[in-house]
């Protein structure tokens, strides 16, 4: 029975995440436009863009290789795999035993590497410059990501156990964990605000890249939101009422997570400030020092 509930919860979680990802992106873009004094697009605009792109005729540079063919689908698959491992509204999902923090960090790094390689595949100037920028920024942000998730893993094993510790108040009272979550939030800000490297894509490849970006944004907000505000998540043995509360709280957490993202976009411009990555690394290193004391 427990296995059936875990599987049902996992499928429901994935369905919710996949449905919410474009809507969440739409909300963030609408709020950014509203705060920026521009015409506010519909929150369903990302859906419409993806549908429109799928119908278009794709072109590919002659210098592109198999990497350009595989990368868009691989990006989506990796982003969905990350999403499947990070809980949204309930604990004890079927894939919870695989949700090791270090594994999630490595998957998030892979999610970042694949588009960078694809951007370099055609050998165009803009793709190469974007890839170089992303790789240089990654030295700070991804190091902070690894350190922060390592420190958080000290409180338990899998992400579920960390969240249970958080629900018991352990995360908010330990300065090491607080610093680690702050580092993660800064990394999330840098990663989500950074523009997608999709200049070499068109039509359905571009649509897949957009889907991957939308899922990635939701994954980051899910991860940081659940760690920063670890309450309202249905326990593994919870019933339908707990699930309903969990879904409502999850929606609220996402709404709260959208606000700093919008602020970063409105006040920080189209590209993230380099300060974010450096600050994240500093927080991550200090959190490791405090966590290992």
């Amino acid at each position: 029975m427990n296995i059936a509930i875990a599987c049902a919860g996992q499928i429901m979680h994935l369905a919710l995440v996949l449905a919410a990802a474009p809507v969440f992106t739409g909300v963030v873009e609408a709020l950014t436009a509203w705060f920026g004094g521009r015409a506010v697009p519909s929150i369903m605009q990302p859906w419409r863009d993806v549908a429109r792109l799928f119908a278009k005729s794709p072109v590919r540079p002659s210098s592109a290789s198999v990497v350009s063919t595989v990368a868009p689908m691989l990006s989506v698959a990796l982003a969905i795999l990350c999403a499947a491992l990070i809980p949204s509204f309930m604990l004890g999902m079927a894939l919870a035993p695989l949700a090791d923090p270090i594994t999630i960090a490595a998957l998030l790094i892979a999610v970042r590497i694949v588009p960078v390689l694809a951007a370099m595949d055609a050998g165009t100037a803009e793709g190469g410059i974007a890839a170089a920028e992303s790789a240089q920024a990654a030295v700070f942000t991804e190091t902070a990501l690894l350190l922060a998730l390592f420190v958080l893993s000290l409180s338990g094993g899998s992400l579920d156990r960390i969240l249970v510790s958080g629900m018991e108040g352990a995360l908010s009272t330990d300065p090491g964990f607080v610093l680690a979550i702050a580092a993660l939030a800064l990394v999330a800000g840098d990663t989500v605000v950074r523009p997608d490297m999709d200049t070499a894509y068109s039509a359905r490849d571009l649509a897949l890249s957009r889907i991957a970006g939308q899922v990635r944004m939701l994954v980051w907000c899910d991860l940081v939101g659940a760690l920063a505000l670890p309450f309202g998540i249905a326990p593994s043995d919870g019933g339908p009422l707990d699930w309903g509360i969990g879904i409502a709280v999850w929606g609220g957490r996402l709404g709260l997570a959208a606000l700093p993202l919008v602020a970063l976009r409105v006040f920080g411009g189209a590209r993230p400030s380099p300060v974010l990555g450096r600050l994240a690394l500093a927080f991550g290193a200090v959190s490791a020092g405090v966590g290992l004391l």
């Binding site: 695989l98 170089a132 390592f150």
Partner: protein
């Protein structure tokens, strides 16, 4: 049962040495025969070592009536030696077979180096160890800097102080920390300067964990952790900023050396703190780093040689687009990167995961934060190296005529790289069976084998993760195919509105592709001092002569 294997392995060492020495004198027409014979010998050695490893037999010893008066050469085959012999023979077989087909490197030189490595690994006393190290370092005419040659000589001289001392006698002593420090003093220096290679990592494991005694000093563990952290970061940095393919790949190998040293340091900390669980986990991490380094390093050298020979340059700024013309080499490079970086489901990730788990199990101390930061930073630098090496050299457009006309390796040269590629992929996907194979060696070093914990899904649930990933990936591909849509049209690369390159720049304007400035060195890099490339045999003879002279003086 290992008793008959040891003489056979010794025979292979002698035959490889003779083959390597003969290669300097025979006519060029005999070179393919030497390559073939070297491949056959190394392949036989790999099978024998694997047999010894799989049988988990008791250690066997052999005393040879050779050497200096009163100092017979002693050799031994124990689980640790069998594990490293398997890896070294596997890597050696692939490299010699590839060299025989492509002539990128002299097969005879490789045979000589392999023989030196074998002798070092089989050594059960200081004399055999010194001879093995001298053979390895002397035959290593691939050493490209004075630092590497000098540190190799330093290790030889460190081993020299053990001449005539049996390892069994060291094990029998109550206080044997002196034996640990002899190579531990040479090892960290070599690691920090990126000079270490699998044989030195083996020496570190043997001296620090097997011969170092049950209760090493804590400051020794801290020294190794500091040196390993520095080695891992410098190795990653070299890999991410190197101007040539072989330098980048060497940097990844050196990073693995640093990781192995961190693993050994944590294992020593576990022994010093009486935490057997930590010791076992850290030993497993160190062994994984060493195995990844052995296999990935050998494959990396094959890839670097193939690129240099077939694309005409080692410089990243002259390459580009090789994935179109050299798909087999590109696949081999992907395996190297899987072993040397932290991509999920790769052997490098397993090492990284095990090291972080060991760090979490270690007694708390703020200084461990430095180790954690170094581990994370080196992991990210290895990722940058992946992007830079693969992206600049293999993706994009060719940056010169030689790169545009590059040819893939021939069919006859492919088996070696493919065997190593398969081994690396298997290491990443099936860490459990690898641990089961290495369980006796783990027990020998840590005093506590993994036993039942080395199952199919331990220590990492890689296969379930692979299964879930494959299901999700399959669903994405199915959905995209089902959605269909028009087929791709192939068009010339667009330059964001800029005009196409003029006819006198057939490979495009060089500045429109990232290359040298992709991840520039942010610190001043010292000029590389190169030693002239000379034949291996004179170097070997010179090294042995120096060692014997030093021995005469000290005795």
């Amino acid at each position: 049962m290992t008793d008959p294997i040891l003489p056979l392995l010794l025979g292979i060492v002698v035959a490889l040495t003779a083959l390597g020495a003969a290669s300097g004198f025979v006519a060029r027409g005999f070179r393919p025969a030497i390559g073939l014979a070297g491949t056959a010998l190394a392949g036989l050695g790999a099978m024998l070592s694997l047999l010894a490893l799989a049988m988990r037999a008791d250690p066997a010893g052999l005393s040879l009536p050779l050497g200096l008066p009163g100092m017979a050469l002693r050799l031994a085959l124990d689980p640790l030696a069998a594990l490293f012999l398997t890896v070294a023979f596997l890597a050696g077989t692939a490299r010699i077979a590839f060299a025989a087909e492509t002539a990128a490197v002299e097969a005879g030189t490789l045979a000589l180096r392999l023989a030196g490595a074998m002798l070092t690994i089989l050594a059960a006393d200081g004399t055999a160890l010194t001879l093995g190290l001298a053979l390895t370092v002397g035959a290593g005419n691939g050493a490209r800097s004075l630092g590497i040659a000098g540190l190799g000589a330093l290790a030889c001289f460190a081993a020299l102080s053990l001449v005539g001392v049996s390892f069994d006698a060291v094990r029998g002593e109550a206080d044997r920390s002196w034996a640990f420090w002899i190579l531990a003093l040479a090892g960290p220096g070599a690691l920090a300067f990126g000079a270490a290679r699998p044989v030195f990592v083996y020496g570190l494991l043997r001296f620090a964990l097997d011969l170092g005694g049950p209760s090493p000093p804590v400051w020794g563990a801290m020294a190794l952790l500091a040196a390993g952290s520095a080695g891992a970061v410098f190795g990653g940095w070299r890999a991410a900023t190197g101007a040539e393919t072989d330098l980048c790949l060497e940097g990844l190998t050196d990073r693995q050396s640093g990781l192995a040293a961190i693993g050994v340091g944590l294992a020593l900390l576990g022994k010093a703190s009486d935490l057997p669980g930590l010791t076992t986990l850290a030993v497993v991490a160190a062994l994984f780093a060493a195995l990844g380094q052995g296999l990935g390093g050998a494959l990396g050298q094959i890839v670097a040689g193939a690129v240099h020979t077939n694309a005409g340059s080692r410089r990243l700024t002259s390459l580009g687009g090789l994935i179109h013309s050299m798909p087999w080499v590109a696949t081999a490079l992907a395996a190297v990167l899987l072993a040397g970086t932290v991509l999920p489901l790769g052997a490098g990730f397993t090492t990284f995961w095990l090291l972080l788990r060991s760090l979490a199990a270690a007694p708390r101390g703020i200084w461990l934060a430095g180790v954690a930061t170094a581990l994370a930073l080196s992991a990210v630098l290895s990722g940058v190296a992946l992007i830079r090496l693969f992206g600049v050299a293999f993706l994009g457009r060719p940056r010169g005529p030689r790169a545009a006309g590059a040819m893939d390796i021939s069919k006859a040269a492919r088996p070696g790289p493919w065997v190593l590629t398969g081994a690396i992929v298997a290491m990443g996907l099936l860490p459990g069976p690898v641990l089961m194979l290495a369980d006796a060696a783990i027990g020998q070093l840590a005093g506590l084998p993994m036993g039942d914990r080395a199952g199919w899904f331990d220590p990492l649930p890689t296969l379930p993760l692979l299964f879930v990933g494959a299901v999700i990936g399959g669903a994405v591909v199915w959905a995209v195919r089902r959605r269909g849509g028009p087929a791709h049209r192939v068009v010339p690369p667009w330059n964001e509105g800029f005009a196409p390159s003029p006819p006198w720049l057939p490979f495009g304007e060089p500045l429109t592709q990232s290359a040298g400035g992709f991840f520039p060195a942010l610190v001043w890099t010292r000029p590389r001092w190169r030693i002239p490339r000379v034949a291996g045999l004179p170097m070997l003879l010179a090294a042995v002569a120096v060692l014997l002279a030093a021995l005469a003086v000290t005795r």
